[in-house]
Every structure is written in structure tokens, then in C-alpha cells.
């Protein structure tokens, strides 16, 4: 499937501060999560994708076109920014109507689309007549999402859309996004609520310090993890002796000992080598093992690992 976003050696500086550092990646159609801690470069990347910033070097194309000052491309992109800024003195329907006109909708069709979109994001009708300055953070998020959906874009770019929403609201937004994705809309969503991205997105892009640390489908990333350091929790009768033996065998990066619970947490250097030698090492140590448990390979774990 042709990628919808392609970045090639893309960099972006703010003076001497590097927002993005020579990143190359593709984003396939579907629901893609953009993950990274604060300052990772997520918003910079999103602003380049939506044509608000220009790359300092390298290229980024969306649907094969450069986004900067490209009205034709903007017809196909919807954008929901991170911060909760909305015009305080406008009512949601007024604001959406103006943006609908700007997007090319006309007449009663524009009004109907605005109302339908507000219904779609589940903004209660009793709030439609209030100015948005009185809205809660969650209500603002819903209106922001609505304006991104107004013109039925092919690609929806959402910067932290779940911020400020209660658990039910998050679930509702997730459902909306899944429905949109099911209807053929590609979605790029950034978030630090990793559990939600894990259940929402098929593909993941992990950013830190302006670099792509991992990209692709969740399954591929998990497979790659096999090559990374493994963490094990071992319940045995002599954890101290086992730790000493493994350390002398030079297979550990580090360990934590919980003598009271008879638990040993180890971080292995190379998973493949460790598992090849594990049985012999255990026999040599003479330790009786009750249980061995690998740390779960959740998205959070992946994220923690790659972002250090």
C-alpha cells in the first residue's frame, strides 16, 4: 500500500534547538500513533505535515505533495491542535460554520454538516448556544475535533486529542476515530496516553529527541524487541547466589535483588545468547527456581525501553 506520508532525511531546527533530527519514515494508510515524551518533536512533525512549518532540510510529502502553502492538499487534511485554544467569544456552531465556509461548504449544507459534526463528537446541544470561553477542556477538545472533521478529510491529524477528556469521553473519541478509520480515513494521532494508542492504532511511530526510535506496526516493533535487552523476574530459593553466578557469566546488564521476597529482577545483555546458555547456567548455580516471568511486552514497555 502506498504510504500517505513520506519523510526523507527531514530536519527542523529552532535556532540552535533541534526539533527533528534527520528522520526518514513512511506512514501507511490507517490509524497511526505518534508517541514520544514532551519535547520529542511530535508537534513539530505534525505542524510540518499540516503545512504550518517548513522543514529546515530534507523533505516531507503528504499524498505525494509538499504541504507548505498548498491549499489543494489542505482540502484533504483535517487538523486538531494540541492546545485547547479556541475563539473564546464565538459559539461552537458559529465557529464551525465559518470554518465550513472557509473549507468550501455552502448554504444549508454547511449548517447541516456543522450540526451533524457536533452531534458526532457528542457535544451536548445545550452547550451549542454558549460561547466557547465558558467551555471545559473536554468540551473544547470535542469542538476542536469537530472542526477537523468538517470537510471530511482523507487524513486527520490529531495532536493529543484525548487531553482533558474523562474516561468515557476518551472511549467515545476512540470509537469515533475507529469508525473514521473503518470508513477509509487515515488518522495520525499523537498521544502520551500509551494504553489508548495501543488499543487504537495499528502502526506506531516512536519519537524522542527529534529522532525516530521505532516505526511500523505494533507487531513488528514487538518482534524487534526480541533483539533488545530482556527483563526477567525470577523467584528462587537463593536469588543472591544466582545473581552472582549470572553476573560472573557476563550475561547481565544489571539486576535488582529482593531477598525478603526471594525475587531477582535481571536485565540481560543479549536475549538470544542468554536463552541459549540459560539452562546450563541455572544448573551450574544449583539454585532451585520456583518461577520465571518475562516483563510484559506492552506498548508502554516498548516505549520505556526505546526512550530510555
Amino acid at each position: 500500500m502506498n504510504p500517505i506520508i513520506q519523510a526523507n532525511e527531514l530536519s527542523r531546527w529552532y535556532g540552535i534547538v533541534m526539533g527533528l533530527n534527520n528522520v526518514t519514515f513512511d506512514v501507511a494508510p490507517g490509524l497511526t500513533g505518534l508517541v514520544g515524551p514532551n519535547g520529542a518533536g511530535k508537534s513539530t512533525l505534525i505542524q510540518i505535515i499540516t503545512g504550518q512549518l517548513q522543514p529546515s532540510s530534507g523533505t516531507l510529502t503528504v499524498f505525494g505533495e509538499l504541504p507548505w502553502n498548498n491549499p489543494r492538499l489542505m482540502r484533504r487534511i483535517g487538523y486538531c491542535p494540541e492546545r485547547e485554544a479556541v475563539p473564546k467569544d464565538l459559539r461552537p456552531l458559529e465557529w464551525l460554520l465559518g470554518l465550513a465556509w472557509l473549507s468550501g461548504l455552502r448554504g444549508s449544507a454547511a449548517e447541516e454538516r456543522c450540526a451533524a459534526t457536533l452531534d458526532r463528537v457528542r457535544l451536548a446541544r445545550e452547550h451549542w448556544s454558549k460561547s466557547m470561553g465558558q467551555f471545559s477542556k473536554g468540551m473544547k477538545q470535542r469542538v476542536k475535533l469537530a472542526q477537523g472533521l468538517l470537510h471530511q478529510p482523507d487524513l486527520l491529524v490529531l495532536d493529543e486529542p484525548m487531553n482533558g477528556l474523562d474516561p468515557m469521553g476518551r472511549q467515545e473519541i476512540a470509537t469515533i476515530l475507529k469508525r473514521l478509520a473503518g470508513g477509509g480515513v487515515s488518522i495520525l494521532v499523537s498521544s502520551h496516553i500509551l494504553a489508548e494508542l495501543e488499543s487504537l492504532c495499528t502502526d506506531i511511530l516512536i519519537l524522542n529527541w527529534g529522532r525516530i526510535l521505532a516505526s511500523g506496526s505494533q507487531r513488528d516493533i514487538r518482534t524487534d524487541l526480541k533483539n533488545w535487552s530482556e527483563e526477567l523476574e525470577i523467584h528462587c530459593d537463593a536469588p543472591e547466589r544466582l545473581a552472582r553466578h549470572l553476573f560472573e557469566a557476563d550475561v547481565l546488564l544489571g539486576f535488582d535483588l529482593d531477598a525478603a521476597q526471594q525475587l531477582l529482577h535481571i536485565r540481560v545483555k543479549d536475549a538470544a545468547t542468554f536463552y541459549a546458555r540459560w539452562t546450563r547456567l541455572l544448573l551450574e548455580s544449583g539454585v532451585t527456581v520456583q518461577s520465571i516471568r518475562s516483563q510484559s511486552r506492552s506498548l508502554k514497555n516498548i516505549f520505556d525501553k526505546v526512550t530510555g
Binding site: Y14, Q47, T50, G51, Q52, L53, Q54, N69, P71, R72, M74, R75, R76, I77, G78, Y79, P81, R83, A85, V86, P87, K88, D89, L90, E94, W95, L97, G98, L99, A100, W101, L102, S103, G104, L105, R106, S131, G133, Q147, H151
Partner: protein, 388 residues
């Protein structure tokens, strides 16, 4: 006999995929309507409305409070020749010089001053072009006649100090000369010096300079930049909407100021109003365009506007060569000088109406064009903008 092979059985045809609707394209009118809505609607929010109303009423109220009450629509004037006062003064001066006036000389001088004063007061000076110059000429002639007639009354030693005194009196009288509708009172200084050339430019530059910067500060620019509009068109539409809003609000303010003047029985207001409003339309277009341009150059566009005002309008605009055509104020003065009352007060020398009209129409196009060019290449980032 030819045989026709049996046709292959038809493969089942999948239902046609409905074509995706053509992406939407905004019309100029639709986009204008949207930007206009975003411009005027927030002005009526409960946060801004009281400030706007106060701003709208401030100048008209000040005008009303500072204008003198004119009795019967005609101001009282200080007479240009005050016989008793002036004869007493010349008598004191001659006495100090050791050349005292005899009682008979004093009586005769007083008679001459009174007759000339009465003749001058009886003269009608029509308003219009050169009215002030005509008045000055009449004053000169009156004092010349006084000096001439005094030669028959005074001796040779008294005449030189008398002539010095009358020359000084001419200068004093000229300083009191006003056109017949009495614009020397604060009204015209409110209207032209303060309102037209200070308040109005500042309002326009303030309103238009922040067209984009204010959106960046409120962090709402992204919603507009991700619509299918080129940056240049977005800026031009925002300028047009902001200018339309300013034209309407300043029209209301002007009408209120004129109403305050009318309540104080200021003459010739109806004659001035159409010209004033026409010039104001062009001024708003020009000053707003300047504001948009300065707003693209720097975040501190108001400071830059003051520097521009000092250098171009106050400095270059007053140089008596063709370079002063760079001054927008000068072109506006050229238009306003077509009202005789205004011309009587300020005695502006015009550059020619076609030149000034052309300058006032081309200047906004130039400024907005440059601003659109800058906006097309300039990017705004909320965080970095806020850190500046």
C-alpha cells in the same frame, strides 16, 4: 459455415465503487463571509463590548465638553482695533519718551481710532479661499490710514514712536484673525489634528498590525492555515474584513463627533462631512494596510509605526520638495483642503487631487502586497513567538 465459439461465461462484476466526491473548494465570497464573521462577531462578546462602547463615546464626549457654547451661533470676537485701550497705551509710551500728548491731540487720536475701528468692524469678510489674507489686508489698510491721519495730529518727534506702536498693533491684530466660523476653538483641533492624524492612524495600525500576531498569541492561527486557502489570500481577506469593521466603527465615531459639534452649534459641519468621510475611507484603507505590513515585519509594530510616523509623516512629509509625496498625511491634507473652512485654519498647500487619490489607492495595494509576500514565506510557531 463458420462457427462462433461460445462466449466465455461472464465473470461476476463487483458493484461499482461510488466515486469519492470532489474535494471542496472555497469561493472568495464564502471565505470572505467566514473571515468577516470571525472579525465582527468577537467584538460583540461581553468581554469587549463595554470597552468598544467606551472607546466610541470618549472623543465625542470630550469634544462636547471642551467646545465653548456659542451664543446664537456666532462667537464673540476680540475687536481688532480697541480705540480706548490703544490710545491710552500710545499716550503712556509718548509720556515715557518725554513727548506727552496734549488733551486735544488725545481727543483727535481717539476719534481717528474709533472711526477706523467702526469701519473695520462693519466690513464683511466672506468665508472661502483667501478669507484670512483678505482680513489681514484690511487690518493693514486700517492701520495705514490711522498712521496717515495721525500725521495731522502729532508733531514730528511724536510720529516715529507712534509708527512703531501701530506696526506692533498690526501684528497683534493679525494674531487674532480667525475665519468667520471661528474654528480656532478646540473643535477643529480635535477633528483634524488629534482625531484624523493621531487617533485614526493609531486605531488602524493597532487593529490591523495584530491580524496575524493576535491569532498566533491566541494559538488559533493553525485552524485557519489548515484550510484550503493560500496564505496570501488569507491575509488579504483578513485585511479586507478588518478594514470593513474599522470603516463601520469609525463611521459611527465620526458621526458622533460631528453630532457633538452640531450640538455646540459649530458652523459648516454639513459642508465638511462628505469630504471628511471620503478622506476617512481612504485613510483607513491606507493606515490599515500600513499596519498589516508593519505587523508582518515585527511583533512590536506599534513602536515601528511611531518611528514611521516621526520619520516619514512628520519629517519627510514636511520637506518642501517632491519627496514629501511619500507622506500619506500630506495626501490626506490635500483632499481635506478642498473644504474652505479647513483650508482657512491650516492653509495646507495641496499636491493635486489626482496625485493624492492615486497615492492613497496605490499605497494600500503596495503595503498589503508586501505583507502577503512576507506572510507567504514567514512561518509562525506559537512557542517561539511567545518567547520573543
Amino acid at each position: 459455415m463458420s462457427t462462433t465459439p461460445n462466449p466465455a461465461p461472464m465473470a461476476s462484476v463487483p458493484p461499482p465503487v461510488p466515486p469519492k466526491p470532489e474535494p471542496l473548494r472555497p469561493t472568495v465570497l464564502g471565505a470572505w463571509r467566514a473571515i468577516w464573521l470571525f472579525t465582527w462577531r468577537p467584538q460583540f462578546g461581553w468581554r469587549r463590548l463595554p470597552t468598544h462602547l467606551l472607546g466610541l463615546l470618549l472623543l465625542p464626549v470630550l469634544v462636547y465638553l471642551t467646545l465653548p457654547v456659542l451664543r446664537g451661533g456666532h462667537p464673540e470676537r476680540t475687536p481688532l482695533i480697541r480705540p480706548d485701550q490703544q490710545v491710552n497705551e500710545i499716550a503712556r509710551r509718548l509720556a515715557r519718551a518725554g513727548l506727552p500728548l496734549q488733551p486735544q491731540q488725545r481727543e483727535q487720536l481717539l476719534k481717528i481710532f474709533r472711526e477706523e475701528s467702526a469701519a473695520l468692524s462693519a466690513t464683511e469678510f466672506p468665508t472661502g479661499e483667501n478669507a484670512v489674507a483678505r482680513q489681514k489686508g484690511a487690518v493693514h489698510a486700517a492701520f495705514d490710514r490711522i498712521t496717515s491721519r495721525a500725521q495731522e495730529v502729532l508733531d514730528d518727534r511724536q510720529l516715529p514712536p507712534f509708527r512703531t506702536f501701530t506696526q506692533r498693533s498690526v501684528l497683534v491684530a493679525e494674531g487674532q484673525i480667525r475665519p468667520s466660523w471661528h474654528p480656532g476653538e478646540p473643535f477643529y483641533h480635535w477633528l483634524l489634528d488629534l482625531y484624523f492624524f493621531v487617533v485614526l492612524p493609531l486605531q488602524c495600525v493597532r487593529g490591523s498590525g495584530g491580524l496575524i500576531r493576535d491569532e498566533v498569541q491566541a494559538d488559533t492561527l493553525g485552524f485557519l492555515l489548515t484550510r484550503p486557502l493560500s496564505r496570501a489570500r488569507l491575509l488579504a481577506l483578513k485585511y479586507a474584513a478588518q478594514t470593513a469593521w474599522l470603516e463601520l466603527s469609525l463611521l459611527a465615531e465620526t458621526l458622533l463627533i460631528f453630532a457633538a459639534g452640531a450640538l455646540r452649534q459649530q458652523p459648516n459641519l454639513l459642508e465638511l462631512l462628505p469630504l471628511f468621510l471620503g478622506a476617512q475611507v481612504l485613510a483607513v484603507l491606507a493606515w490599515s494596510a500600513l499596519g498589516v505590513f508593519l505587523g508582518q515585519l515585527t511583533k512590536r509594530y506599534m513602536a515601528l509605526a511611531l518611528v514611521y510616523g516621526l520619520i516619514v509623516e512628520m519629517g519627510i512629509g514636511r520637506i518642501p520638495t517632491n519627496i514629501n509625496t511619500l507622506s500619506l498625511m500630506r495626501h490626506l491634507k490635500t483632499l481635506l483642503a478642498h473644504n474652505s473652512a479647513v483650508q482657512n485654519v491650516y492653509e495646507w498647500s495641496g499636491l493635486g487631487v489626482p496625485t493624492s487619490l492615486a497615492a492613497l489607492i496605490l499605497a494600500p495595494l503596495l503595503f498589503v502586497g508586501l505583507a502577503a509576500l512576507l506572510f507567504t514565506i514567514h512561518e509562525y510557531h506559537h512557542t517561539t513567538e511567545m518567547e520573543k
